[in-house]
């Protein structure tokens, strides 16, 4: 348990989609500065992109503009987004995609060399190796990579983030990184709710199960302002494998049908786009069919040719290979029978919905010296891969400029000592053979509270004031229990901190769900006591800040500002 102390101009926490692009941008734009990436796994295959990607889902196909993208995302998010943020990322899609293509990403083109569109905002790629490609670019650009170092907390001195502390899960060293500026890019949070599958398939989740909300939790603990946690992400996915459905729905044009063969989205949601309704409704619609006894629900693929079925499998092999094995192992031919779908566990992920740090146009958070990019950053949904790249670039520019005038801070020894004790306590509990709690048991406890009282799949994601108050009360006891966590090795120690981090995400989430007294996103967060959308009172952002001294969470609102004119509930 040695201590490694490093000084770096910019620290990037999380070497994923946003982090890698931020590293390259910093080194290209500000030659000579040093950039360090703190990564909990190995940068070559860490995080969301480990398995690959088969499409870039935020791209301006011919005829589209940043303004038309903002209009669509606003429609898809039921009338409220940070339009300034979404606009600024859309302006950089072309720059980022061209850059990554140059690094070697195969993008599918037609005979004339144009990208092949898959819907208004999507292009097809052969992205099995997307992660190693962007990781190599970050390394080639000269970023120093600390693999297997798990970030545990920011170092905050005089109200400014001046670096972070991390735990090496390879040698147990404590890394103290002093930085002039810090970019947080750790992704969102899975594992807050009971996962879709149990037993040896509990991590058969759609969102990366190793994204455990560390960046959210560090920000919450440091008192950063957070936004829109109540806009949970509950996706429509293929039953059992929890594989993405865009590959099918957009790839071969498959409408949703219920067990009676009725195209319920086309019929019941015609006024908001039918099968092209906003994403929350595409989860809400099938849930109502199942609730009212017309399940299972499917994507109807029976019209596709055998060649299209093969193409579909090829597309999944680039991103989600288990889908193809699942069909083979269950004798399912998607050209002969429809593909059954279900909804996911609720995730907190600012790249699909908009939960995360409240940031300004430069992705600067409410704490001096700290910038946020990618899934951990709030207010800008529909980022997916290319939007995370764009935010990495924007945050890099701002952090690079900030460090020109910033210096390293003196870090009081007691901050490090306190964090060292907090980080290693579960390991010491094991060494001293204290009676305690395994991280897995606490994870199940957390997930049980959230599932049953804070709108899990078992209750059709519905919440009301009374249930949420039970969740709030039960959660409030958990922090006192952290002292009993046990870890027998460094892997278990990482997991102990993952469950602690997820607690802070869960606590903030419950506060946000309690505060928004309307149902803006049916399916994501359906309030049975406030069933309607209420633009008169709730066309605003719900934000929160936890007081680091008292632990109290203050919840308040911020106004929504319309930048692009037009009907907020229309896709064009």
């Amino acid at each position: 348990m040695e201590q490694n102390t490093i000084e770096t101009d910019v620290l990037i926490i999380g070497g994923g989609t946003a982090g890698c692009l931020a590293a390259v941008e910093l080194r290209e734009r500000f030659p000579g500065i040093n950039v360090t990436i703190m990564e909990k796994a190995h940068i070559d295959r860490s995080g969301c992109l480990a398995g690959g990607m088969n499409a870039i889902n935020a791209y301006l196909n011919p005829g589209e503009t940043p303004e038309s993208f903002v209009k669509y995302v606003r429609f898809d998010s039921c009338g409220i987004i940070r339009e300034d943020l979404v606009m600024s990322m859309a302006e950089l899609f072309e720059y980022c995609v061209k850059k990554v293509e140059k690094w070697g990403l195969p993008i599918l083109c037609d005979d004339k060399g144009n990208y092949i569109p898959r819907g208004r905002w999507n292009i097809k790629i052969n992205g099995e190796s997307l992660k190693p490609i962007i990781a190599k670019a970050a390394k080639n650009a000269g970023a120093k990579v600390l693999n297997w170092v798990v970030a545990t907390n920011y170092i905050v001195v005089d109200g400014r983030v001046t670096g972070a502390i991390g735990l090496s899960i390879r040698n147990g060293n404590l890394f103290v990184i002093k930085a002039k500026a810090t970019i947080i890019a750790t992704g969102g949070a899975a594992g807050i709710y009971k996962p879709n599958n149990a037993h040896d398939a509990q991590h058969k989740t759609w969102y990366c199960p190793y994204n455990t909300g560390a960046g959210y939790a560090m920000g919450i603990r440091a008192g950063a302002e957070m936004t829109s946690f109540e806009m949970r992400y509950i996706g429509l996915r293929v039953k059992d494998t929890i594989a993405p459905t865009g590959t099918i729905a957009l790839g071969v044009g498959a409408p949703q049908i219920n067990s009676k063969g009725e195209k319920f989205m086309a019929v019941k949601y015609a006024n908001i786009g039918g099968d092209g309704a906003p994403t929350p409704y595409r989860s809400h619609g099938p849930l109502q069919e199942i609730k009212e006894g017309r399940g299972p629900v499917y994507l109807d693929t029976r019209h596709i040719t055998p060649q299209q079925a093969r193409d579909l499998k090829s597309a999944f092999l680039d991103m989600y290979p288990s889908m193809v094995l699942y069909w083979a192992a269950n004798e399912i031919d998607p050209s002969k029978e429809p593909v059954e779908v279900q909804t996911t566990e609720p995730y907190i992920v600012g790249g699909h919905t908009q939960s995360g740090y409240w940031v300004d146009i430069n992705r600067k958070t409410s704490i001096e010296g700290l910038y946020a990019a990618g899934d951990v950053s709030g207010g800008a949904p529909y980022k997916f891969v290319s939007g995370c790249w764009a935010e990495g670039v924007i945050a890099a520019k701002a952090a690079g400029e900030y460090i020109q005038k910033a210096s390293f801070a003196d870090i009081p020894q007691e901050i490090i000592k306190e964090e060292r004790e907090r980080v290693f306590q579960p390991l010491l509990n094991h060494t001293h053979k204290k009676e305690g709690i395994k991280s897995y048991d606490m994870e199940v406890r957390l997930q049980k509270i959230m599932e049953e009282y804070a709108g899990g799949a078992a209750t059709f994601y519905e919440v009301n004031e009374e249930r949420l108050l039970v969740a709030k009360r039960r959660l409030s006891t958990l922090p006192e229990q952290f002292q009993y966590l046990m870890a027998e090795d460094l892997h278990e120690l990482m997991k102990a901190h993952e469950v602690i981090d997820r607690f802070y995400v869960a606590q903030t989430l419950v506060e946000h769900m309690l505060y928004r007294k309307e149902t803006r996103w049916p399916g994501y967060c359906t309030r049975t006591d406030f069933t309607e959308r209420d633009d008169d009172n709730w066309l605003k952002f719900v934000n929160s800040r936890r007081n680091p001294a008292t632990g109290n969470v203050e919840v308040f609102t911020r106004p929504y500002e319309q930048v692009v004119p037009g009907d907020r509930y229309k896709p064009r």
């Binding site: 040695e2 295959r45 398995g51 195969p106 190796s129 490609i133 090829s314 092999l317 680039d318 990482m494």
Partner: protein, 127 residues
């Protein structure tokens, strides 16, 4: 039971301290058994089924299996990386033994058998 390591094929990448499969697992789930020198899976329940470990193994010693609750036995999906590294061929077998092959363009980057970990020793970074 998401991935299994075939002990007859795994050579632990010889003296490698951090073999490719150990490095590529985003969940820190694979480790080298100090006694046998072969690879062990810490906990199958933590596996995401993402397959970088399967694709990177030079011996093709790691096989992806669906959890039995999700699919029947004997179906297989085996990726083979072409020597040119610009294609990957997936060999698929269903429960009846019918086979199919999918060859897809990619860009596989070379992977070393071992890699030093940055900052393992305190001396490296002491200031």
């Amino acid at each position: 039971m998401p991935v299994i390591i075939h002990a007859d094929k795994c050579d632990g990448c010889h003296g490698s301290q951090n073999p490719p499969c150990v490095r590529m697992c985003p969940g820190d789930l694979l480790m080298k058994d100090p006694k046998t020198g072969k690879i062990l899976m810490r906990d199958p329940a933590e596996c995401w089924d993402c397959l970088p470990c399967v694709k990177v193994c030079p011996q093709e010693a790691i096989e992806f299996k669906l959890s039995y609750q999700l699919g029947f036995h004997t179906a297989k999906l085996l990726p083979h990386i072409h020597d040119t590294r610009d294609f990957i061929t997936w060999e698929l077998r269903d429960t009846k033994g019918n086979t199919d092959k999918f060859t897809i363009r990619t860009k596989i980057l070379p992977v070393e058998l071992d890699e030093k970990i940055e900052g393992v020793t305190a001396v490296d970074f002491s200031i």
